[in-house]
């Protein structure tokens, strides 16, 4: 078992040649002391507040509103009032509002990226280069559909559903906001969105973009709060609920909406298999494994959390993987050289620790590269378990952390069988240089997204969503419009 020392500061570990700290300045972000609720184009005071903090050092960042049931109802009423005017606008005019949002988000992307890393814990390199560009692209993409719905659904006379309630998670806050709001608005709906409890700040800053884009009041409403706010939104007078989060909560929502006639889409958890064959491009496959589970600290529903490696190439893969893990820089999310940032919350950290302990107890072998983790804040070293059996908790349950479980297989059929042997079905990875095998595997894997010779690729044009308990409905592409429309 490897020692993990704790240290007083947050800079990444020097190894031979120590890269000096390269902090991204936080000057570009101006935080308010306290935020209200954004309803009907105005800021409303809430009765209760809670503190949101920075996971890298638990420093308090701002006071954020705890929306009550009546606050939520007020937001839904504002969305309801704005709906007819918004739906009646020609699609080309709705498009122009969305294009404005896309452009402004792109212009202010550095500000948002810094705030995202500060409030959420992910490396600035990721929020700057992945989250923000994708979020702006998502708005730009759906803007173009607003006046072309007859091409997306020929002969079906699409009409907006009405008011959508949207609940998003803490792992990609601004990106998940874009995934929800863009298609909903393009289709002519108005929305009430609740960001995650631990990551409200970029959603609140987004309200300033709504103001700059001069959107009609009530088209976008943001209410912050904990799980009770989400429950209130589910129960409110919305026409549709879109939820991204844990499978457990997704099931609860599905039960709650049963019989109400409200439309529902769910994007839930996963336990994806990343399958490596002996004829893969080896170094790139190792890179793909690393990216699959350590990107965003493993806080990814489609993370490649199970490595299924062909037994004939087991040793070189695991050896190279461990070497590569040792070059990962864990540290201050706002340092430009950080590869792995902070765990989002104390609650999540405890969950990861519990499952890792279970893995040890069940008999798996653990490896963690030497890593100096700061004293303050929430941190977990990149971890890999070998000698893992399919039945271990660490091979079955979603850990949602930087923890990889390694299993082996002998043939493609066995790989498919093991990969599909889970209640989840969000994503899968396949690494082989053989074209026909890529296509055969893709055909047989029960997953909504199959990445071949790559991993964690997202695009607004590419539909994303799960099979089985990973949820239903797709986001992205033409298909992402469907949940927000009604047809004759």
């Amino acid at each position: 078992m490897t020692e993990v020392e704790k240290r007083g500061d947050r800079s990444p570990v020097p190894a031979g040649w120590a890269y000096a700290p390269a902090p991204e300045s936080t000057d570009v972000v101006r935080l308010q002391e306290r935020y209200g609720l954004y309803v009907g184009g105005e800021w409303l005071e809430a009765k209760e507040h809670f503190t949101t903090l920075a996971p890298r050092d638990e420093a308090p960042l701002a006071q954020v509103a705890q929306a009550s049931e009546s606050d939520v109802q007020q937001a839904v009423a504002a969305a309801r009032e704005a709906f007819p005017g918004w739906a009646r606008l020609p699609g080309s005019e709705r498009a122009k509002y969305l294009f404005r949002i896309a452009r402004i988000l792109a212009e202010r992307s550095r500000e948002f990226a810094v705030l995202e890393s500060l409030n959420g814990g992910k490396p600035i390199k990721e929020s700057r280069d992945v989250d923000l560009p994708l979020a702006a692209a998502h708005f730009f993409y759906y803007a173009g559909w607003a006046d072309k719905l007859e091409y997306a659904f020929p002969n079906r006379q699409p009409k907006p559903v009405g008011v959508a309630g949207q609940i998003i998670p803490w792992n990609f806050p601004i990106l998940m906001l874009a995934w929800k709001i863009a298609p909903a608005l393009a289709a002519g709906n108005t929305v009430v969105l609740k960001p995650a409890e631990t990551t409200p700040l970029t959603a609140l800053l987004f309200c300033d973009i709504v103001r700059q884009a001069e959107l009609p009041p009530g088209v976008i409403n943001i209410v912050t709060g904990d799980g009770s706010t989400g429950a209130a939104l589910v129960d409110s007078g919305v026409d549709k609920i879109a939820f991204t989060g844990s499978t457990e909560v997704g099931k609860a929502i599905q039960r709650r909406l049963a019989g109400t006639g409200k439309k529902l889409t769910l994007e839930l958890g996963g336990k994806a298999a990343n399958i490596v064959f002996d004829d893969c491009a080896l170094d790139q496959a190792v890179e793909g494994i690393v990216n699959g589970i350590y990107f965003n600290q493993g806080h990814v529903c489609c993370a490649g959390s199970r490595l299924l490696v062909q037994e004939s190439i087991y040793e070189p893969v695991v050896e190279k993987l461990k070497q590569r893990m040792a070059t990962l820089r864990v540290g201050d999310p706002l340092d430009k050289n950080t590869d792995v940032g902070a765990i989002n919350s104390r609650a999540q950290l405890e969950k990861i620790e519990e499952l890792v302990a279970a893995g040890r107890e069940e008999g798996a072998e653990i490896y963690q590269p030497p890593c100096r983790l700061p004293e303050q804040g929430y941190w977990f070293a990149p971890t890999v378990f070998t000698n893992v059996a399919q039945s271990y908790r660490i091979a079955q349950e979603e850990i949602f952390g930087p923890v990889l479980s390694v299993l082996t297989f002998r043939t493609p059929e066995e790989a498919v069988e093991k990969a599909n042997n889970t209640p989840y079905g969000l994503s899968a990875g396949v690494w082989t240089e053989k074209g026909s095998r890529i296509l055969w595997m893709a055909q047989h894997l029960r997953a909504g997204v199959v990445w071949a010779n790559t991993f964690n690729r997202f695009d607004p044009t590419s539909p994303f969503g799960g099979y089985k308990e990973s949820g239903f409905g797709r986001e992205g592409g033409l298909h992402g419009l469907e949940p927000y429309l009604e047809f004759e």
């Binding site: 190894a15 040649w17 890269y19 000096a20 700290p21 491009a281 080896l282 890179e287 793909g288 070059t327």
Partner: protein, 312 residues
């Protein structure tokens, strides 16, 4: 077709026990990894350390038809003392010239610690009979070259005659005696990363002390993804045999920022052991002055002008 003689001990083809093939490279994946590594932000002392290392690893190069003893002598002076205004700035690793200029280079560099590297084997094309190429190597060594930079026979490589490629390298290595041998792959002509890896492994199996990207005579010389492919091949050979082979990117590296990106790759792929002129060189000419300007900026805090640094 020449018979490849028995390989020297310590090298086996195939090089990886479980892979029957040399393997392949995914272009998009390797270019992405190189782009990620290129984002590293190296500041302050880390930057100064890297700049000084880059300088110590430079092979100052002149390979022109118009080279004269006078031109080479001036280059050698620059090599020994790159910044006349600052004696703390270290010398470069070597000066690289055509065989006819070895003598003036040796004379000027005597006692300085800077090595004399000579190209040979009908550089840059390599399209001559083997005996002519070997004779050139022998002559260069006799004239006192410390290092020989040879080119592989790309014609043989691209037409699948790998045995000939390996055989030539082995014979050149023998002709080198104590001089160290760098093998230039000329990556711009090889077409794919798969071929770069294959050529790297063949060169190392045949005895190369260093593998080098380019002659610098073609556009599109060293690139970050190409170096990454070669470094991974070097790492695989080290894991399999324990032998450390050196790396030299050449051509197209003109700015300090770029040079540091190359060093970061070495650091994060092969580790700090390779960060020494004994195992890493950069083939460059105008890079040196850019490094000097950056070093002066780090020391004084002000951006610099070319006017304050000698051209040679």
């Amino acid at each position: 077709m020449a018979q490849a003689p028995a390989l020297p001990r310590g090298f086996e083809l195939p090089l990886l026990k479980r892979l029957p093939r040399i393997g392949s490279i995914d272009q998009v994946g390797v270019e992405q990894r190189a782009a990620e590594l290129a984002k590293r932000s190296i500041k302050k002392d880390a930057k100064v350390w890297a700049l000084e290392l880059a300088l110590r690893c430079c092979d100052l190069t002149t390979l022109e038809g118009a080279d004269t003893p006078g031109k080479v002598a001036a280059l050698c002076s620059k090599a020994i003392r790159p910044d006349p205004g600052d004696a703390t700035v270290p010398s470069v690793a070597a000066v690289c010239v055509y065989p006819n200029l070895i003598a003036p280079a040796k004379e000027r560099l005597a006692g300085s610690g800077v090595k004399v590297a000579s190209v040979a084997t009908s550089f840059p094309s390599g399209q001559s009979p083997l005996d002519v190429k070997l004779r050139e190597v022998e002559d260069a060594v006799a004239l006192g070259a410390d290092e020989i930079d040879m080119v592989i026979d790309r014609g043989a490589f691209l037409s699948g005659r790998y045995g000939k490629v390996v055989d030539e390298i082995m014979q050149v290595k023998e002709a080198c005696n104590d001089a160290h041998l760098k093998v230039i792959l000329e990556v711009a002509e090889l077409g794919t990363y798969d071929n770069v890896r294959r050529a790297s492994l063949l060169a190392m199996a045949a005895g190369a002390d260093f593998i080098k990207t380019s002659t610098g005579k073609l556009p599109g010389a060293a690139t970050l993804p190409v170096q990454l492919v070669m470094l991974e091949a070097i790492r695989d050979v080290y894991e399999e045999t324990g032998r450390r082979v050196g790396m030299k990117p050449a051509g197209g590296i003109r700015t300090s920022k770029n040079a540091i990106q190359y060093l970061v790759q070495v650091h994060e792929t092969l580790g700090p052991d390779w960060l020494t002129p004994d195992l890493y060189r950069i083939g460059a000419s105008s890079l040196v002055n850019d490094i000097l300007m950056q070093l002066r900026k780090e020391k004084t805090g002000a951006y610099q002008s070319k006017d304050y640094f000698t051209v040679d």
